[in-house]
Amino acid sequence: MDRHSLISITWRRFLKNRLAVAGGVVVAALVLVAVLAPFISPYNPNDIDRRHILERPGISHLLGTDDLGRDVLSRMIWGARISLAVGFVAVGIATCIGILFGAFAGYYGGWTDRIITRFIDIMLTIPTFFLILTVIAFIGSSIWNIMIVIGLTSWMGVARLVRAEFLSLKERDFVTAARALGAGSLRIIFRHIMINSMAPVLVSAVLGIAGAVLLESSLSFLGIGVQPPTPTWGNILTLGKDNLEIAWWLSVFPGLAILITVLAYNLLGEGVRDSIDPRLWDSERR
């Protein structure tokens, strides 16, 4: 690879940021854990063992057992799947909606822009957690419903971002050139401008995963997320709350997992942001 190509510069800048690399490593490890869950989890996450109820962390159960004698470590390993899936799918949905709205608003301007901007403002004013709670309670808390509802209520940031990018990019010469060559609006939007506005969207998507993971776990914690016996970090924490006085390990470990995951996505996102923003390239030498 050319040592001075944009990608290689960006990559080297990213590698220099140790925290961001650490975040990336944690995220990669999580993906690995989720994919390999059936092979690495020491027990079946749903195996009930009445003789070993609420056992402290020890050699046979590294992170202890819950109120039905299920192995907490195994449940957390399987829970990583839920958290990962919800994070990626919900953010995927939100990003697609955000890009579409943002692109149309920014490119066409005028009434299209005014209506979409108004809609974004309205969505930003609704306490979305109220809405998510209501909808999930009504349509049922399957993992798909949760992904979709989180996605449908968290696209506004991306839309604003993309709109701003489009507003500035559509005035550039390469767009005029494309138009002069006879490219249609849709082609200009999706082939020419969108490619150039992807960097900030990528950053906001990585940061958005962190938010979605937090949201999913709080829904699970309230008892309206993915339902037991499917293990999620949030619903292990609910058990932790119910057994707060006798089983601290049910509260401490899943929470720690959520914290580390969210932290990792945030560090990764900020690291990517810093390394793809050319304006920051010089400032580092200062």
Binding site: I122, T125, I126, P127, F130, L133, V135, S251, G255, N266
Partner: protein, 333 residues
């Protein structure tokens, strides 16, 4: 200024209509009706009886008509009656005049949010400023790390840990409800103290999440402002650093923070569901949770509307704050 305010107030009306229309549609389009809960467990119910029930609740009309009727009543501040068995007016459940002010649900939620907001501003602004002025010092690094961890901390988990530590292990603070069992037998100062001690953990948890983001924002915005020419001029004039920072830089540095505060209001209000359910606080969030579970449409709509109004008013206050801090905006409008 007054003209601007009136314009903003007028603008709130279409927004509010938009919000309520979206909420109304979502609630009513969701599969399953509140009458199902009443009828599903009763095998003897006939289809006719079910229809009568739907008619009674006005659920048989087309959606847009239902919304129109709802809107017409709202203008008179009539949010309807709760679908639950007590059939009480919805507003009465949120704002029970028979109870002392401090026990009314809306007031409880409102108070916790306002106190949290004040705590957030009182702590995050000084942290942000000092982090910026002592950039890259040990203090700044510790603060940056804390902020990053705080940003990622799931609030409900943090609440559990604090309950475990202060409530159970140390026994310093109560972990549930708004007042103790023996509240009525306490003296007046004792009652006040009792209430405050019940609020310490919830307010701390409610503020903690935003604390991280806001102080971070304050720091970067202060760093931005301090680089500008007029600050160099102020320093060159020989002004003491304190005056430069707190009189000249602070005003401009506060601007982005005000926007952020305005934007964080929906999150705070929405978060009250989690907060109130962890700490067993009888507020609006807890009521919403219960109403959602029983599909109490009028109750849900009422709380969603109040949540939206609180957010809009909060945003308006943020804009007014913006005008107070930034004279440029005042002269433009």
């Amino acid at each position: 200024m007054l003209q601007y305010l009136l314009k903003r107030l007028a603008e709130m009306i279409p927004t509010l209509i938009g919000i309520t229309l979206i909420s109304f549609t979502i609630i009513h389009l969701a599969p399953g009706k509140p009458t199902d809960i009443l009828t599903d467990f009763n095998p003897k119910i006939t289809p006719e009886a079910r229809e009568r029930l739907e008619k009674y609740y006005g659920l048989d009309k087309p959606l847009i008509v239902q919304y129109g009727l709802w809107l017409k009543r709202i203008v008179k501040l009539d949010f309807g009656e709760s679908f639950s068995t007590d059939r009480r007016p919805v507003l009465d459940k949120i704002w029970d005049r028979k109870q002392p002010l401090v026990d009314r649900r809306l007031f409880v939620t409102f108070m916790i949010n306002v106190i949290s907001m004040v705590v957030i501003l009182l702590i995050s602004i000084p942290i942000g400023i000092t982090s910026a002025t002592h950039r890259n010092s040990l203090y700044d690094k510790v603060m940056t790390t804390t902020v990053f961890v705080g940003f990622a901390m799931p609030s409900f988990w943090f609440a559990l840990l604090l309950m475990l530590l202060f409530g159970i292990s140390l026994g310093w603070l109560p972990i549930s409800g708004l007042k103790s069992m023996n509240y009525s037998s306490l003296s007046a100062p004792g009652q006040a103290l009792d209430r405050i001690s019940h609020l310490v953990l919830p307010v701390f948890i409610a503020s903690f999440g935003s604390l991280a983001g806001n102080s971070r924002y304050m720091r970067s915005s202060m760093l931005e402002v301090i680089r500008q020419d007029y600050i160099t001029v102020a320093r060159a004039k020989g002004l003491p650093e304190k005056v430069v920072v707190y009189r000249h830089a602070l005003r401009n540095a506060l601007l982005p923070l005000i926007t952020l505060v305005g934007l964080s209001i929906p999150g705070l209000i929405g978060g009250s569901v989690i907060l109130e359910s962890i700490f067993g606080i009888p507020g609006m969030g807890q009521l919403l949770f219960m109403s959602v579970m029983t599909r109490d449409y009028p109750m849900i709509m009422c709380i969603l509307t109040i949540g939206a109004v609180l957010t809009l008013v909060g945003n308006l206050l943020a804009d007014i704050g913006y005008m107070i801090v930034d004279p440029r905006i005042r002269t433009h409008s």
